[in-house]
């Protein structure tokens, strides 16, 4: 039996291409358990780059320790 409102907060998505990366930002939907460091590690291979993501999303992130599942973040080019 499928619940009427299934929980998708633990969904993780992403993407890649055979084409070179463009200059625009990518986007990423936050999943349950994500942190900015974890996302930075995923996209840049370096958790310390979390500030870059934070600075690109100050309109939607007030506290870098608080991001929410389902939140869509801009990921600046590396």
């Amino acid at each position: 039996m499928v619940p009427s409102d299934p929980d998708f907060s633990d969904v993780q998505g992403g993407g890649s291409s055979t084409a070179p990366s463009g200059q625009g930002a990518q986007s990423y939907t936050v999943a349950k358990g994500d942190t900015l460091s974890k996302i930075a590690k995923q996209f840049y291979g370096d958790a310390k780059q979390w500030k870059k993501i934070f600075e690109a999303n100050t309109d939607s992130i007030k506290n870098p320790d608080l991001i929410y599942p389902g939140q869509v973040l801009k990921i600046p080019a590396a």
Partner: protein
């Protein structure tokens, strides 16, 4: 000194030859080599196909095409594009099609293709996918480029 008799006929011939040579048009300068007009490079990118599957290869093409997935599958949507662009935006919006549609993920990537390219979007879930119908919509530069429906079944 013995003067040679003037050969009037030969003189006339010589004069005629000089006149002809003098009137000859100067050779045209060698034609400059001009490059054949090259067709303008196609600009812009178009989506050629969208394919779903549970596995992709190193070239990002789907190796296991599917439209019905198991609850533990990772779901891939591979977008094949043609054309070139310095900066094109591809976006995937994943939706659970239940009693009312629920957007479950959105991802975008910025690409600079120099020819045909394959771009993949993937979706995974730590816990099993709820059974039901789903849809992925692909947007190219913000405009709809196609949708694919799929199902999750045990």
């Amino acid at each position: 000194m013995i003067a040679q008799p003037f050969n009037r006929g030969a003189g006339l011939l010589l004069l005629g030859a000089l006149i002809v040579l003098g009137c000859k048009k100067p050779a045209p300068p060698p034609a400059q080599e001009t490059a054949a007009p090259t067709p303008a490079a196609p600009t812009g990118v178009a989506v050629a196909s969208i394919q779903l599957g549970s596995q992709i290869g190193a070239d990002k093409s789907v190796t296991a095409p599917k439209s019905t997935f198991a609850p533990r599958d990772t779901i891939y949507a591979v977008v094949s594009t043609t054309g070139v662009a310095t900066d094109a935006s591809l976006e995937a919006i994943w939706t659970y099609v239940g009693t009312k549609d629920k957007q479950i993920n959105q991802a975008s990537q910025s690409i600079s293709p120099t020819g045909p390219a394959q771009s993949e979007f993937h979706l995974s879930k730590a816990t099993p996918w709820p059974e039901g119908k789903y849809r992925v919509a692909i947007l190219l530069n913000g405009a709809s480029a196609g949708t694919k429906d799929f199902e999750v079944k045990k």
